[in-house]
């Protein structure tokens, strides 16, 4: 089995807010991230797929198809958007980097041609990232 990883980037706005809480509680838990005017990041999406090397093509997966899929399912959806206001899954899910990784996993799972989705990593900054390994322990 070979692991293959492809990167892509998108830029988006978000804020952290839980409607069930008071403004003071949101401020206490989320700090500056609770500013309702939002702020933004340059996110990096890393998608790792696992599979066998096709003896004819030498590919685990056609990188162009993986790139197109990452763009159509995630990057083109999130890029230059306000995640809270424009992306359906974040209406009831705080758009933390953990939840963005989970959401990207859900958008990509089952769509990789001929390979298994192994890991979705999302960097919010170079010093902060989340990994989603799917619903089961896959390590």
């Amino acid at each position: 089995m070979i692991l293959l990883t492809r990167k892509a980037e998108f830029s988006a706005a978000h804020y952290y807010w839980n409607d069930a809480w008071s403004e003071a509680e949101n401020q206490r838990v989320f700090g500056k991230c609770a500013n309702r005017n939002g702020h933004g990041h340059n996110y990096t999406l890393e998608v790792t797929v696992a599979g066998e090397v096709n003896p004819q093509t030498g590919f685990v997966v056609d990188l162009k198809r993986l790139k197109d899929l990452m763009h159509s399912e995630v990057v083109d959806v999130y890029d230059h958007r306000h995640l809270n206001l424009e992306i359906p899954e974040f209406r009831d899910r705080v758009p933390t980097v953990e939840n963005i990784a989970v959401s990207a996993w859900e958008r990509l799972e089952g769509k990789i041609p001929g390979a298994k989705l192994e890991r979705v990593r999302v960097y919010e900054t170079p010093d902060l990232y989340a990994d989603c390994f799917g619903p089961e322990v896959s390590r």
Partner: protein, 139 residues
């Protein structure tokens, strides 16, 4: 979903690799340049990875502000701009980055709920890094 959250921290410190049980010549043979009596230093990069389910109220595996307070307070402030050989943790152990990685694991795991810390990864330079997930993880 199986999710981890990773935060990267930075500190700069000096050290000298020298084992009391070895002769001066043996130390020079084993540690080479790292045995220079006057020491040398690195810009260390530490990745702290925590695991767990995402709290639906916050969208977080762990509040980053709490993790920052723990790691900055117990690790970064302790080692930044310090000589590792003078730290009580390295009176019996050579401050190799292997040992530093385990020492940081001990300091961080002590401040987290059981099972929360996934691993410590430390880069001594861009070309070498060390990871420690605790003894239990060796299975």
């Amino acid at each position: 979903m199986n999710v981890t959250f990773t935060r990267r921290y930075h500190f700069s410190a000096s050290h000298r690799l020298d084992c009391e049980a070895l002769s001066p010549q043996e130390n020079r043979d084993v540690y080479g340049k790292c045995n220079n009596p006057h020491g040398h230093g690195h810009n260390y990069r530490v990745e702290v990875t925590v695991r767990g389910s995402i709290d639906p109220a916050t969208g977080m595996v762990m509040n980053m502000a709490d993790l920052d307070a723990l790691v900055v307070g117990s690790v970064v402030e302790r080692f930044h701009l310090a000589n590792l050989n003078t730290d009580p943790l390295f009176q019996q152990e050579v401050p190799t980055t292997e040992n530093l990685c385990r020492a940081i694991h001990r300091l961080v795991v002590a401040g987290l709920p059981q099972g929360k810390l996934d691993r410590i990864r430390i880069e001594e330079t861009e070309n070498n890094f060390f990871e420690y997930a605790g003894e239990a993880a060796r299975g």
